[in-house]
Amino acid sequence: MNGIDAAIPVAGESTLNRWTDERVASGRRWRNRLMAGFMGAALAVSVSVVGLILLYVVKAGLGAMSWEFLTQPPPYSYRLEGGGFVNGLIGTAIMLVFATVVSAPMGVMAAVYLAEYGGKGTLAKLIRFFSDVMTGVPSVFVGLFVYTALVTSFGFGASMGAIALTIIMLPIIIRSSEEMLRLVPRDLKDASHALGASKSQTIVRVVLPSAAPGISTGVMLAVARAAGETAPLILTILGAQAIVTKLWDEAIAALPLQIFDGARNPFAAGVERAWAGALELVVIVLAFTLLARLLASRSRI
């Protein structure tokens, strides 16, 4: 995108445009300004919404945040004060680790296939198209799928939530990794081949290492997305009040799920905890996003 972008003169700086501006009829000039004003206003609205969300989450969240919140499970009623979401944090962490361990290698392998082997073949096109489509599948439906296919036989639990998150992360990782692999310069691969390396040696020793920062960016963004997913977890892990570390067949808590429960029950203490949880979740998500940007800026290609 940047290549094309750089070639477009920014209209505001163009002398051409200033020249026409002086000679056009005033109606047209006003319409021009009106639309520019509208675009600026649209941007201002969007940016201020971002600001309002972050500001309010930080403000309300900090008010409810405490050491107790970070280290204690919640009390047994939404009416009671005190306690925290540590059980949800543990649940979220367990599921994210498992989902990443499974989806990252699978996603990268699929991307290698698409970028290096599949090319313009029908199968590659099909996979690419449906990966894109799958990023648009409602996450609640992914939850329903895991529920009907697995939870009915194996029971609610962290592993089920992790599978749902894997399905959500996989297409994101496939598509972003493929883009990164495509950016690896032809010369680099040719040089490797010229030294007598086979195609698979080239991929493992040359292509993957040079695309690694970009790939990890995609993975981090997928993790950030999965960390905030709530809907599929309702259907796969159900939620719990106590600290659970069992992976199988026992309902477990997750941070977003606890925020959701706090938000839909009209008790002040529960809402307080929901705000603190929202702050915690936003910090986690933004940390992964920033990590992703950091990795991206380190990228050598």
Partner: protein
């Protein structure tokens, strides 16, 4: 290396597994699933019309409000913004995509509702109450509230895709428009928007898919009343929201009925997404 096949496998598995669970419901309810608003799964009444209606209405509100904003943002960033601030501004708008939907929901009911949505709803009702869409009584949790929050949520996806589409419009087209004496807006309308129309339609449809499937924020804001109201200011329900809100209390046929709603939702979003992807792909690649 055929890990990619897994995606296709997952997709096929999704369709098969959920449809199998939902089939008895569709068979029993027949067409009344789409035409009745009587939703009592325990009593064998499976009328999902209120949910379908709610999904369509909230998404429509989201598009009407969100699309002009998104296009404005995209055009500002590609056509007007000085290059120096373009990067940071783009990053800020993309941050909207990183906010988890449960945080949107929480922020929506506790901040936006009392400070913005409620006053606006009262205003609309007072001055435009003669239009059935804005008829009272004003209820805080409503199609309107859910739609506005959805509008914010689709801004990042619609604007970032339209930005890609606009950037792909050849520079010669722009220069040609200027050479004909066009103002900047006339250039945008004549060269950028008309060349990018298919891509923009695709981007809007992807936003629509996102709005259809959004669950948590809508579940918190729509008011959870399984009825069809013409007025946007009344509470309602949506397909995704009813799944999230009632799953924990449902059992047996109730769960199967929710899965049936999920299947309908899936079929709609997948069609929207396939058409949208095809449109965007044709343009950007």
């Amino acid at each position: 290396m055929l890990a990619g096949l897994l995606v296709l496998l997952f997709l096929a598995g999704m369709v098969f597994s959920t449809t199998r669970t939902a089939l008895p419901i569709f068979r029993e309810a027949g067409l009344s699933f789409f035409t009745s608003t009587d939703w009592q799964p325990t009593a064998g009444h499976y009328g999902a019309l209120a949910f379908i209606y709610g999904t369509v209405v909230t998404s429509a509100i989201a598009l009407v409000v969100g699309v002009p904003l998104s296009l404005g943002v995209a055009l500002f960033l590609t056509e007007i913004s000085p290059r120096r601030i373009r990067g940071p501004l783009t990053y800020l708008v993309d941050l909207l995509a990183m906010v988890p939907s449960v945080v949107y929901g929480l922020w929506g009911i506790l901040f936006l509702l009392p400070h913005f949505l409620q006053p606006v709803a009262v205003f609309l009702n007072r001055y435009l109450g003669f239009i059935p869409f804005f008829r009272g009584p004003v209820s805080g949790l409503s199609y309107f509230g859910a739609g506005i929050v959805l509008a914010v949520m689709i801004i990042p996806i619609v604007s970032s895709l339209s930005r890609e589409v606009f950037s792909a419009v050849p520079v010669e087209d722009r220069h040609a428009a200027y050479a004909l004496g066009a103002t900047r807006w006339e250039m945008i309308r004549g060269a950028v928007l008309s060349r990018g129309r298919a891509g923009v339609v695709g981007a809007v449809m992807l936003g629509m898919g996102r709005a259809f499937g959004e669950t948590i924020a809508v579940a918190l804001l729509i008011g959870s009343r399984p009825e069809v109201s013409v007025s946007f200011l009344q509470p309602g329900y949506s397909m995704a929201a009813v799944i999230a809100n009632t799953f924990q209390e449902a059992n047996g046929s109730g769960i199967a009925a929710l899965v049936a709603i999920g299947v309908v939702l899936f079929v709609i979003t997948i069609i929207v997404n396939m058409v949208a992807r095809a449109l965007v792909w044709r343009f950007v690649r």
